[in-house]
């Protein structure tokens, strides 16, 4: 789960990390009130979960009220890589002379958290990692002990941060690690940390992702997650408790188990179609869940045809079939053609129960996907 910049910065500020003065605004008037308080220059920053906001036109620096009004008007409501901007962070501009990158994340290969510092801040750190990996200093943390303060200092010095600000940067890094641990973060990144002409150190951006599996013990962050849905379908999936990812194609996909659903997406693509979504109904789904899943996919206007692929282990084919019937019998006219493939536990019973007036049935995964792709093509032609 991704926090918005303003959410992450409020956690930073509470923990004592210096951040620029800022206000959240949802209208041009609110943005103008904010700049009146903060002064100029002021950055107007789109609050959406999209990387490269600056390049895409989602961050502008206003030097007077007229510019602030124009930029706020431009950015609010704009479409940024498929997401509509409905709030902006209005933030005091920082007069900086140098930029750093600092981050804390989980190194999967090592199974340990890792601190990262680079003097090549302000640019895409993944590009730095590829073109000049030595420009990033790293320090692994033993998860049983937590961070020793010397480690934060060591990695900052190793990165070549200017001596006069090194201890301040180390202190920020130490605090970021505490935030990482306390909030069950999966990643925290500040890019850039700005160093001002007066040699002050300021966290000018904030990326903070939370481990969704830990939200059960992070109630405050779970509330923030509520506020961070950016799409009605994603919100609906959150309410139903589905693993759901919206994509840009027109073949709706429902299945059980992440690996098999991913494979179904891949096959849709392989046979010349375009997947509209990833939707995993999980293990042991009962009829009601199946109905909810169909409701999700039917609610997506982009979907022209649906493939429903179940390989039952703890999920039972007869339960799935009942759910499909219940969902579809409620319609006078089936909104989108549904191809069903059932295998595994109680698949035969399921096939008998399925109302084949309402759905098309295939025996193999490959056949089911090809038929759904064809159905989608027929709609678009």
């Amino acid at each position: 789960m991704k926090l918005h910049e303003y959410q992450a910065k409020s956690l930073f500020a509470d923990a004592g990390i210096p951040v620029p003065d800022s206000r959240l605004a949802t209208s041009v008037d609110e943005a103008l009130d904010a700049v009146d308080e903060i002064g100029y220059p002021a950055a107007i920053k789109a609050q959406v979960h999209v990387g490269g906001r600056g390049k895409a036109g989602g961050i502008k620096i206003a030097t007077d009220r007229e510019e602030a009004e124009r930029y706020a008007d431009e950015i609010l409501g704009m479409d940024l890589k498929g997401y509509t901007v409905d709030q902006v962070l209005v933030e005091a501009g920082v007069d900086f002379v140098d930029e750093l990158y600092v981050g804390v994340t989980m190194d999967r290969g090592e199974g340990k958290p890792v601190l990262m510092v680079s003097t090549e801040g302000g640019v895409n750190i993944e590009e730095v990692a590829e073109s000049n990996p030595d420009a990033i200093a790293r320090e692994h943390v033993d998860p049983a002990f937590g961070l020793h303060p010397y480690q934060a200092r060591k990695v900052v010095y190793e990165a070549g941060v200017d001596a006069d600000v090194a201890l301040d940067v180390a202190s920020i890094l130490s605090t970021l690690y505490d935030l990482y641990e306390e909030n069950d973060a999966s990643e925290i990144e500040v890019n850039p940390v700005m160093i001002t002409g007066d040699r002050d150190v300021v966290a000018a951006d904030a990326v903070m992702n939370i481990d969704e599996d830990a939200l059960f013990r992070q109630p405050d962050l779970a509330d923030m997650a509520e506020a961070s849905y950016e799409d009605d379908l994603e919100r609906k999936a959150g309410e139903y408790g589905f693993d759901y990812v919206r994509l840009s194609g027109n073949v709706g996909i429902i299945g059980n188990g992440a690996g098999l659903v991913m494979t179904t997406l891949d096959l849709v693509d392989y046979y010349g179609g375009a997947p509209a979504n990833f939707l995993d109904i999980g293990g042991g789904a009962k009829a009601e869940r199946v109905t909810q899943a169909l409701d999700m996919v039917f609610s997506d206007d982009n979907v022209d045809a649906v493939v429903f692929n179940i390989f039952g282990g703890i999920t039972r084919g007869d339960e799935v079939a009942k759910g499909i019937n219940e969902a579809l019998e409620g319609f006078d006219e089936i909104p989108k053609k549904v191809v069903v493939r059932l295998a595994g536990t109680n698949a035969e019973e399921g096939m008998e129960i399925l109302n084949t007036d309402l759905v098309e049935v295939e025996k193999t995964l490959e056949d089911a996907v090809q038929r759904a792709v064809k159905n989608a093509e027929e709609v678009t032609q």
Binding site: E181, D213, A214, D243, G259, L260
Partner: protein, 289 residues
């Protein structure tokens, strides 16, 4: 023969009195697995399906000589349950639980370095040696005994591939689901190493997915150390960067790392054919044998 489990494996089920634990303990027993004990705090002295329950894993091992555990404990308490099995020096612990916080698993991972216990999972379907033992939630009826080893990050995708194999008469020596989380106990390399050493495994299927670099490391291992032929499959070719595809570990993070293409390329370079469909994976295995 087989790897990690066989008909001598003596199993304690942690969480046997819960809904899932009870159901799957029953299924494991029905399959012929030696389920010798359950372990649930506060439930010592009870019985589930004729299996005696103890308050601690330690007591279960002491009384019933268990050497492996299967963990069906809710996510909030699962890391503690794994620590309990590791600290009891079992040979094997299989963690089925999905949704354990990653930072908890980092601590478990640290402990794993210091013990001889093998952990499989978490967030996995378990392990099965057809006809001998099943530790986990895999549907026993789709498997058949044979000489194909299978290792996979996913549950239902494993079933799909096994179904394709079994339908052609290609039975399995052992099938392992290693789990879809970012931090797991048994890696592809660990499983491949065991299959390579197993004289009754003549071909291996490896089903990977996007995220992390486990598949790339496995490819390197295969290229350098394996004579047994391996066929591969990689799920998530169409996954966009930055989106978690169900599994906590299935996410393409940076540019170029963890993508399906980098994994497919690495496997191809190691001489591993990668199927475009599960059916094609079975084709490759058929060619090997």
């Amino acid at each position: 023969m087989s790897i990690f489990v066989d008909d001598d494996t003596r199993v304690v089920v942690q969480g046997i009195t819960g809904g899932e634990g009870k159901f799957h303990a029953g299924q494991m027993i029905e399959y012929g697995t030696n389920v010798v004990a359950g372990a649930v705090p506060g439930k010592g002295g009870q019985e589930v399906d004729g299996v005696p329950v103890y308050d601690t894993v330690d007591e279960a091992v002491e009384a019933e000589d268990a050497d492996a555990s299967v963990i069906f404990v809710p996510p909030a308490f699962a890391a503690d349950a794994i620590f309990e099995s590791l600290d009891t020096d079992l040979d094997l612990a299989v963690a089925i639980t999905e949704g354990i916080p990653t930072q908890d698993m980092a601590k478990v991972n640290k402990r794993l370095d210091e013990t001889d216990t093998r952990l499989i999972g978490p967030n996995c379907p378990g392990i099965i040696t057809p006809g001998e033992a099943k530790l986990g939630i895999l549907p026993g009826n789709i498997f058949s005994g044979g000489n194909v080893g299978l290792v996979s990050r996913s549950g239902t995708l494993t079933y799909q591939v096994v179904d394709n194999l079994t339908e052609r008469g290609l039975g399995q020596s052992t099938a392992i689901g290693i789990g879809g989380d970012p931090i797991i106990g048994t890696s592809f390399v660990d499983a491949l190493e065991a299959f390579e050493a197993d004289t009754d495994t003549d071909a291996v299927v490896m089903c990977g997915e996007i995220g992390g670099e486990d598949e790339e490391q496995a490819a390197k291992f295969i290229g350098e150390h394996m004579d047994t032929p391996v066929a591969g499959f990689i799920a998530g070719r169409t996954a966009p960067p930055g989106k978690r595809m169900g599994h906590a570990g299935a996410i393409v993070s940076g540019s170029g790392t963890g993508t399906a293409q980098s994994k497919i390329d690495a496997l191809n370079e190691a001489g591993v054919p990668v199927g475009d469909t599960p059916e094609e994976v079975a084709d490759h295995v058929e060619d090997f044998l």
